[in-house]
Amino acid sequence: MGRTGPAAEAPVARGGQIVASIRGEPRTFNRYVAADQASELLSLLLQARLVRINRSTFELEPWLAETWESSADGRTHTIHLRPGVTWSDGMPLTGDDVLFSLRAVYDAKVDSVLADSLTAGGQPLRAAAPDPQTVVFTYAAPSGRGLRLLDGLPILPRHKLEPALTAGTFASAYNTTTPPAEVVGAGPFVLREYQPGQRVVMDRNPRYWRKAPDGSALPYLDRIVLQIVPEQNAELLRIQAGETDLTSSELRPEDYLPVRRADEEGRLRLIELGVGPDADAFWFCLKPEVKAKDPRFAFVQRPEFRRAISYAVDREAFAETVFLSAAVPVWGSITPGNTRWFWPDIPRYPHNDATAKMLLREIGLVDRNGDGVVEDMKGTEARFTVITQRGIGWYERGTAFVRDELARVGIAMEVAPLELGALIQRLQACDYDAMYYRPVMTDLDPAGNLDFWLSSGPSHFWNMSQKLPATDWERRVDTLMLEQAAELDPMRRETQFRAVQQIMAENLPVLHFAAPRMYYAHSARLRGVVPSVLRPPVLWNADSLSVSP
């Protein structure tokens, strides 16, 4: 049933506290209006959902919902809530709270960040509660993801927040200045204190509904402290010094060595999470409205150009050099870390400079003046600038590596590292030639990332938010993605999505080179660790963590 930590060797010790570091301040305790990492982590700890996707096995688990039935057409789902569940302040949790949460998500004044992903067939979900322990969801169209959608909806208490929703102030409810006792939830922990710039303190929820397999109460821990440490170097220092138990994200390749030493000395545990589910991405901005006047666009928009680049980059050497050999080569967006959707037979482009040069010649790019850079018939050189985020070691190594590989086939590329803010602005304005970045997909299920796959999506990086698909193959991808999102049969979904991956591999709007192997460090005294490749790697299972005495 998936990887678990050391099996029941000794009875679990109760009590104690752990300290985890986070990189940014929480902007709010209201998950409905914030999507940053800190808010997501806090909502995992303070609130509960109806169902949970186990981050290790990716199976759907009953959570606040105990059992459920779905109709054959996939449109109606009847959920039976667990009896006897109460909020952290003692009030009973009923179907009314579920209905209230849905209302809040779709409320226009709230403008929730969760609203777009909680749809089926493009329409909001509807729900009704025939009795306090039952909720019936009605989907406008069948959805391949089914009830897995509900893993993204923390349930909030109606008795606390209905006045705010009615008054139109829900978006500022549960903010960082709300008194901690007012932040009521059904999660394993309750808010105790927030010191801005320093830490968030949470105590165990004595009324937590979940029980350990042996029937004893959860969580085991008495307290979790989230220490705010803005810099990754400082985070590493703290965990090595024993001041924290967990860091906010996986290790950088360059941090592997000091943590390995610490593991050998028994101060830390170094664990391998597996291959990350997100590969790196290299793409050109292909927005015709902006790029049409650029003489280079004539050849950049040809898939042969991008295929040539794919042939020119030696992915094994890339994984070796850029990620210090802690990575696997990939040829598509879905990596081996995403076990459910990975397709091992996706078309590959083995490293071959001759083929690359031949493809370039096919579209008219030849070195006509002997300067080592190919030009087209009009004399436009294949010369670009690639932008990436400054200060991240492997981004810098990656762009330098690609630059050197492309120089061998006659494409001149310059690297311009930028601050994240500037990078984002340029991305949104299509004010760049090429970009190298590692976008983090929110959901392992492709139907949860339609903002990337659909041409109309706001995360369709190379040409965002199109009104109509700019190319034929993008139209085909749109159709296939919408089909597979509504398809209930898992085998058919797989076939449809493989067709999408095939089209993407042929046209290469985005090139992927490698997916990192993720390593993580935690203190030696932590028990019950079930690692996950998704963030947060360990705290997703916080109610079952304990510390050795």
Binding site: L236, P253, A422
Partner: protein
């Protein structure tokens, strides 16, 4: 002690000037297999069948990239080559190089060569800023001291006000206002301008005092009586009296500007990473866990220390407040 300081300073400057000749490797040459490699050990050998006795190195081989382990290839000792390739000493790559006297940084670039080239960039920027600050300060201070009256008064107040502000915050604010990533030449010009802006008030204050007192001297009134134009009096007769002061001030501003560049580059607001300067090299030192494994990363800190020490030794006994009070 003063002589020691002057000699040290002269040595540093000449090393910086001769960097292209002294550096064993080009500063931007990347050795992909030698990220964070330790310094190559120099050995005095007489290996069988490889040549006469002399200085040799064993080429470093990569064992594990993730674990940063290297070992020496003892089968192929490489001899140090003198006066080849336009460099004083080097080991060409083809024969088993590179010669990494202070190890390699996170991209696999030779720390020692970057240190030498970094001296050029850091000292060059400091020198240019110093000259600018001196020029502006001397001019403004001279005019104020000579004109006297309300001009002098206004200037004195303005200078006092600016001097109160902590320099690094002003530099930080001015620099952050510009786009955060700029071409190296632009950064050089920008930082030079900012430093000159920070440095001229203190020069002006001293020059003003000197000029004001010189103005009262007999020879000055004599020249004035002879009908010389004020600008001529100022430039040819009064300002030279401030030459000694300007000289001392120059030696004080130089290390302050070196430090300022190091600070700004360290926090990421100075030169881009690809340009070797002491400040950008110090950025590697911000990963403290790495420092323990690779202490040669602190080499630029040692270099900066030597510059500051040299200056402090050289100005001993001139009655000036030492460098540290200028931020």
């Amino acid at each position: 002690m003063k002589r020691a300081g002057r000699i040290l300073l002269a040595a540093i400057v000449s090393v910086a000037a001769a960097a292209p000749w002294l550096a064993p490797n080009p500063p931007d040459r990347v050795f992909e297999d030698l990220l964070y490699a330790p310094p190559t050990r120099l050995r005095f050998l007489a290996p069988e069948g490889f040549g006469a006795a002399g200085l040799y190195i064993y080429p470093q081989r990569l064992v594990s990239r993730l674990e940063r382990r290297f070992d020496d290839d003892r089968d192929r000792p490489a001899r140090l080559q003198w006066f080849t390739d336009g460099r004083l000493v080097t080991v060409p790559g083809a024969q088993g190089g590179p010669l990494l006297l202070l190890g390699a940084d996170r991209f696999g670039r030779d720390t020692f060569s970057r240190l030498l080239y970094g001296a050029r960039a850091s000292l060059g920027l400091a020198a240019v800023s110093t000259l600018l600050a001196l020029a502006i300060g001397a001019l403004v201070g001279g005019v104020a001291g000579y004109a006297g009256g309300i001009v002098d008064d206004l200037l004195a107040r303005f200078t006092d006000f600016v001097l109160v502000l902590p320099a690094i915050y002003v530099a930080l604010a001015l620099r952050s206002v510009m786009p955060l990533v700029l071409a190296p030449a632009t950064v050089f010009a920008l930082l030079g301008a900012i430093f000159a802006l920070l440095g001229w008030p203190i020069v002006a204050r001293g020059v003003r005092a000197i000029i004001a007192s010189e103005r009262e001297r007999d020879y000055a009134s004599a020249i004035h009586a002879l009908g010389a134009a004020p600008s001529r009096i100022l430039l040819r007769h009064l300002l030279p009296a401030a030459a000694g002061y300007l000289g001392v001030q120059a030696t004080l501003l130089l290390p302050a500007f070196v430090l300022a560049e190091a600070t700004l580059s360290y926090v990421g607001l100075g030169f881009p990473d690809s340009v070797p300067t002491w400040g950008t090299m110090l950025q590697d030192a911000s990963n403290v866990s790495l420092l323990a494994e690779a202490p040669w990363t602190l080499a630029p800190a040692a270099a900066i220390f030597m510059v500051v020490l040299a200056v402090n030794l050289a100005v001993q006994g001139t009655g000036r407040a030492p460098v540290q009070l200028e931020p």
